[in-house]
Symmetry: C2
């Protein structure tokens, strides 16, 4: 990788990040649930208008918390788009669920809500829409479908995998506020990063007490530290999902500057769109589609190439210019685990096609104008 | 807690910690498996003489990795001391195992190896000894017991929960090097801390490939990044267990100064022992016992009081002097989950007694001599 001058990603850091981390190191709490954890949670709760946000060690672990809170058991079925990160499915498979893979829409690459009803069975317990690239799924349709089957309590819950979508909206309402539960990612690849981290959003107040227990190794330690019980005990299955307050400090420094960070990302995104539109039309390349209902998060700028072969040549072309562009998810229904759950080629044709053809361009707040000039020039010099 | 002048713990930080974290923030990798992760793993592997150490998000998660790697399934049984942290048991219960609780020895408070054989059944898959306070368990006996039943592959595996015991030894051999797998903790309460963190030690080379897969969400992403495969796929159940390299930097700064940190802790420990011995004899209080086979880690200095009532008065007495001393584990077999698995009062009498009577004194590298003087004076002023 020594020849790469413009990497695909640079983790977000702001001018105050080191100072925040220094304060965390000087504080008596380096484990979870310290001052900076509270600060992050308060910002997220305020911006999303949600009842409770709990920082976690990753979005993967927030999804695993969701599976525990919904009491997912062997034999249960969970509907997940095939075109997503492994954890969206793995978190529920860990509890014994069979994953039922849904295809995605041709326009937004989100779960195709028109196909979800045909995937329901008596064992369906949850739908996990992923707001791909921070563009909202058709949440009205999805929540209505779930509600028809009865929300929660052995009904069908909607869990939003909002790894890409912090501060995005759908019909003016914040992503992460629609599902019974929602999950966020602060992995280094995300708009706001602490290296490895995440959050669980709890929208159903009846799950809040158990969320604290599950996050604290299945114990009521949170209540103990608040003086509400005089000792704590192992009450149910859980795990250790608290984010170190040192990482929460790094995250808090960025969340405080969320307006500036998002403005910079949107400027880069829009410039890609306007500068590459003509080239894309001529070359038969598709740019991202954002429906009018969506306020997206400028998390990702992707191109959909005419074929796998052209995509691979394109990646090589940019790489020869010192620019790293990368593909994305492989369809989960065709992975070893997915095939073991019954996935077959042709089950999710859009996911299969998009997986072969998509490529993502460098996009991060620290990308300079000169660097973006280079990327744009590199892309325009390519003939499909 | 405003009246506490000498806290029970201060998380370890050294003079180079901030500089290490600054370098991590300036590096292109904030997620897992960066430069500092490698540095930590290399130090641990070298000191313990083990094949592979993998940093994880916590000791809890290293134990969960062990349960996945051993393919623990519903109906399997795992033998765990009742007197331990919830995660020792919870990690295996998450995979459906029934936990069989063993009592502890009166001297070291470690699992009573003479009781283990009677707990075996045809379903026993693992024994999880915990090196309490960094004093080694009777590993020869335990590994021989497991070997009689056939190691691995639906046999009985020994997994060392070495949360307290990094750099400790038993009969001259490093703790963490005895089991098929072993786990470490870098929680803020431990000798070496990154707030929340841990490590899995893989001593059985046949588990190494799968350990990388399980740690990377069940995918062969590690091989992909090493260029050994051209794309990565979901191969089996896993989770996201990589520690942020920002936290690994904090840890690396301390591991580099492991000799000094351990020397300071041992000095504090020995001073408690010599200064409190006479008082303890008079008051009927027991101090920690370290057998001659053990090089312990000075992780903890505990007192065993004559009764629960005296212990509670003692904690109040120190607290009135601004000193925080704390109790420790509640017996797991008497927790809600433990009772659900068949635990009953009287099953583990030593664990039940010790749980009521034990209290731990402040012990950390940053405890000053003056502060330790105060603690010692406070203890000596107490009459049982």
């Amino acid at each position: 990788m020594d020849d790469i001058r413009i990497p695909f990603n640079r983790p977000c850091v702001v001018d105050t990040s080191l100072g925040f981390v220094e304060r965390a190191l000087a504080s008596p709490i380096h484990a979870g649930d310290g001052t900076f954890t509270n600060q992050c949670q308060t910002i997220i709760e305020g911006e999303l208008g949600v009842r409770k946000a709990l920082l976690t060690t990753s979005c993967t672990h927030a999804l695993e918390m969701a599976a525990l809170l919904l009491d997912i058991r062997p034999g249960d079925e969970v509907i997940v788009p095939s075109f997503t990160f492994v954890s969206t499915a793995n978190a529920f498979a860990l509890r014994g669920a069979r994953i039922v893979f849904a295809d995605i829409r041709q326009d937004t690459l989100n779960i195709d809500e028109t196909r979800v009803e045909s995937l329901f069975s008596d064992r369906t317990r949850a739908i996990v829409p992923v707001h791909y690239a921070g563009v909202g799924c058709e949440m009205d349709t999805l929540t209505a479908l779930a509600a028809q089957r009865g929300l929660r309590q052995r009904g069908v819950a909607v869990v939003e995998d909002n790894a890409h979508g912090l501060f995005g909206k759908w019909c003016g309402r914040p992503l992460g506020s629609f599902g019974v539960l929602a999950t966020q990612s602060f992995h280094e690849s995300k708009n706001f990063s602490c290296g490895e981290g995440g959050a669980l959003i709890v929208n159903d107040p009846s799950l809040l007490d158990r969320a604290e227990i599950v996050r604290e190794k299945g114990t009521n330690r949170s209540r103990f530290f608040r003086g509400q019980v005089d000792k704590y005990s192992w009450l149910e299955l859980g795990s250790s999902y608290l984010l170190s307050d040192v990482l929460a400090a790094l995250l808090a420094s960025q969340l405080e500057q969320r307006v500036q960070i998002q403005a910079r990302r949107h400027a880069i995104w829009k410039r890609y769109e306007s500068e590459l539109n003509e080239w894309a039309v001529v070359q038969g390349v598709r740019l991202p589609f954002v429906p009018s209902e969506a306020d997206h998060t400028a998390h990702m700028f992707y191109l959909r190439m005419p074929s796998l072969d052209v995509r691979q040549r394109f990646i090589g072309h940019l790489r020869s210019r010192g620019i790293l562009a990368v593909f994305h998810y492989l369809p989960l229904h065709l992975s070893d685990v997915g095939r073991g759950m019954g996935g077959r080629p042709g089950d999710c044709p859009v996911a299969e096609e998009v997986s072969d053809r998509i490529v993502r361009l460098p996009l991060y707040a620290a990308l300079t104008e000169d660097e973006q000039d280079e990327v744009i020039a590199g892309v325009r010099a390519f003939r499909a």
